[in-house]
């Protein structure tokens, strides 16, 4: 694999072809915040905290470093007024869901994010997808997945699979940035719900839930 030279925050970085900008930055000791990234999992690109600025022929382009492939002579900026502003707002949006999550609180301090900027939301899932992806890619059990779309998106355990697999595992709990609260809660809900009869199934899946 050929060597690729790029510039990150003014620093010359040597990377290998096929690497992402995030990987190259880490080699060079430059830290970029992430939430949905995990070394055992395929990069997901959902939290958008790892955004960086690329200088392309005079234009500035914003991309997520966890997915963007390194290229020769790439010029990357990992922090700027705009990037910081965007990261701050992303954190504030997430804090509305999980104000007590340690990871979020640490990042909030760094970027000056105000946990009370937005009204508190009912669900404390921040949709990093770590639990779902871990169960699918590493454990290959597919006990937990996403349901619904948009603002109604939630994680949901499959009761039949979870009752067999989860009690011995629970490895996704420690991945959960909202301190395993969300993972544990949803699992308990799935396992303690009465067996699906139409009435309750209807209530659970009615798309009228806003």
């Amino acid at each position: 694999m050929s060597e690729i030279l790029l510039k990150i925050d003014g620093k010359e970085v040597k990377a290998k072809e096929g690497m992402t900008v995030l990987e190259a930055a880490r080699i060079a000791g430059i830290s970029i915040p992430t939430l949905c990234h995990h070394q055992k999992l395929e990069p997901y690109g959902a939290c958008r905290l790892c955004i960086v600025e690329l200088d392309v022929r005079g234009w500035t382009k914003l991309v997520v470093s966890c997915l963007y492939p390194v290229a020769m002579d790439l010029v990357v900026t990992t922090r700027s007024e705009k990037i910081n502003r965007i990261r701050k707002t992303i954190l504030e949006l997430l804090l509305a869901h999980a104000p007590d999550a340690f990871e979020l609180q640490d990042l909030a301090k760094e970027y000056g994010a105000d946990r009370d900027r937005f009204e508190k939301e009912a669900s404390f899932c921040i949709h990093c997808g770590l639990c779902v992806r871990y169960c699918a890619e590493v454990k290959k059990k597919y006990a937990v997945g996403f349901v619904n779309r948009g603002a109604n998106r939630e994680i949901s355990f499959i009761p039949e699979v979870a009752s067999k697999e989860c009690w011995n595992c629970k490895e996704c709990f420690q991945l959960c940035p909202t301190e395993a609260l969300q993972a544990a809660y949803v699992l308990t809900e799935a396992l303690t719900s009465p067996p699906p009869s139409f009435g309750r199934e209807a209530k659970k899946y009615s798309s009228s839930r806003k």
């Binding site: 779902v132 699918a136 597919y142 006990a143 937990v144 997945g145 996403f146 349901v147 619904n148 779309r149 949901s156 499959i158 039949e160 699979v161 699906p196 009869s197 139409f198 009435g199 199934e201 209807a202 899946y205 009615s206 798309s207 009228s208």
Partner: protein, 178 residues
Amino acid sequence: MRAGSALLSPEVKEQAVDQNKEEIRTEAMDKDRIDQIIGKHHGEPSSLIQILLEIQAENHWLPKEALEQVSERLQVPMTRIQHIATFYKAFSLVPKGRHQIHVCVGTACHVRGASRVLDTVEGFTGIKPGETDLDLKFSLETVNCLGCCALGPVMEIDGKTHGKMGSAQTADVLKNYD
């Protein structure tokens, strides 16, 4: 092709409602019919959505047993099926009512006052979009453009298009359905 048992006839629904208002029992779709549909698509996982669309079209909803059968035949995890069944608006995990009301809320209809039509329908039927009333009489959905913008605001009931709706006409049209 035994399609008969698969469909929820109004009579069956009426019976179910009468017997027990709390637990509305509904027939699950014929397993053989589902196998047939899957076979038509050669059991291809990439045809998952097409298969579910056919089951939805015939049965008017996706019972859990049907999803489990599809999961097993296609060797696709239940999480993926669950995601798809809840991601796409075409699918319903609960039985639908006898009359499907579609209120167009596309931009052209919106600009001509579709939200008032929707308010009237919600008031009259007691349900919001995505819901079915407990008597299984009406199901309400909003749609984002029926392509009849010249007739806006448009409301479609059981496939029949009602154009140039206002609050007053909407109530009148709905009274005709039982």
